[in-house]
Amino acid sequence: MKKVLIAVGGMKGSEGILESFHNFVSSADKVILLHVEQLEGNSSMTAMLGDAEMSTLRESLKGTEYKQALDRRAERILSYYKAELRLDHATKSTNSMTIKTVIKEGHPEEEILKLADEEGVDLIIVGCSGKTRLQRMVNCCVSKQVEKHAKMHVLIAKGDGCGLHAHLWQGREAYAI
């Protein structure tokens, strides 16, 4: 029973996921499509948000317009990916694998790893955030954290923004930047 967990964020960084899935992953029996709502927005202070703070935040946001907007966005993202996973554009064929959509809130990397363990998946597919080295140091990179701590194989898919900063490594001299 091959289970794959696909973690999708907003559009940026997640683009490569569909391509990677259709090109490389052979028929999965079950796909779990996960979107993690970031309650704290794009705050850099995510590391400071422990469980207590998160649950307070969650409580205070319940029923608010902001939460509803987040939920609507999550639904939109998940329906898009669910449809795209079903249909392989290249071969114009649809598959019959089970796709389960899950919405979680909190820290993306934590929720991804938790769900992966709970469901006992064989592979996690994440997108690449496309952040530069400096941004990554400040904001932390989801794909790196997931890959570091996952117990199962991780496929890091690439969108258009990724590998652009790769030119920095060419020639060890440039590495010293």
């Binding site: 490389f24 592979l123 794909s143």
Partner: protein, 169 residues
């Protein structure tokens, strides 16, 4: 044209690439098996090795016993993985041996060969050790322009007899 680059070495972490490959991936049209020989051994000073130093190192090692030993080891690692892949039914396999800094060579080969996917193992190092000695899979993953599949050792579903192969090397 689906070309996959599989980067292997003699550590335990590499064997997971076989499980990742056979269990999860669609058979590609071509597989390139790459082993990067570490001329500098397990030195921690790899960041200091620029092109000039590496070519000096390469020159001084030419024809030495150490170099022959490294080459022999490289060939047996590649033979082992090639056999495993062929046993799994794969036909088009090409092997490449490079030398230098693993992450850089992997990325270079990935670009030269215009592969569609890179698979590496994970050496499983944690925390401080990883920070100091560096992590090949992390560097590859971060800088590659193509998707990277990082295989994890704990989920090996088949026993590959890797220990026997290592003993023969």
């Amino acid at each position: 044209m689906k070309k996959i680059l599989i980067a292997v070495d003699d550590t335990n972490g590499s064997s997971s690439v076989l499980s990742a490959f056979s269990n999860l991936l669609r058979p590609p049209e071509e597989v390139i098996l790459l082993h990067v020989v570490r001329l500098e051994g397990r030195s921690l000073m790899t960041d200091m090795l620029g092109e000039a130093e590496l070519s000096t190192l390469r020159e001084s090692l030419k024809g030495s016993e150490y170099r022959e030993e490294l080459d022999r080891k490289a060939r047996s690692i590649l033979d082992y993985y090639r056999k495993e892949l062929e046993d799994g039914g794969l036909i088009r396999i090409r092997t490449i041996i490079r030398e230098g800094i693993p992450a850089d060579e992997i990325l270079k080969v990935a670009e030269e060969e215009e592969v569609d996917l890179v698979i590496t193992g994970s050496n499983g190092k944690k925390g401080l050790l990883k920070f100091i000695t560096g992590c090949v899979s992390k560097n590859v993953e971060r800088n590659a322009k193509v998707p990277v599949l990082v295989g994890k050792p704990e989920r090996n579903e088949k026993a590959f007899g890797f220990r026997e192969a290592v003993a023969k090397i």
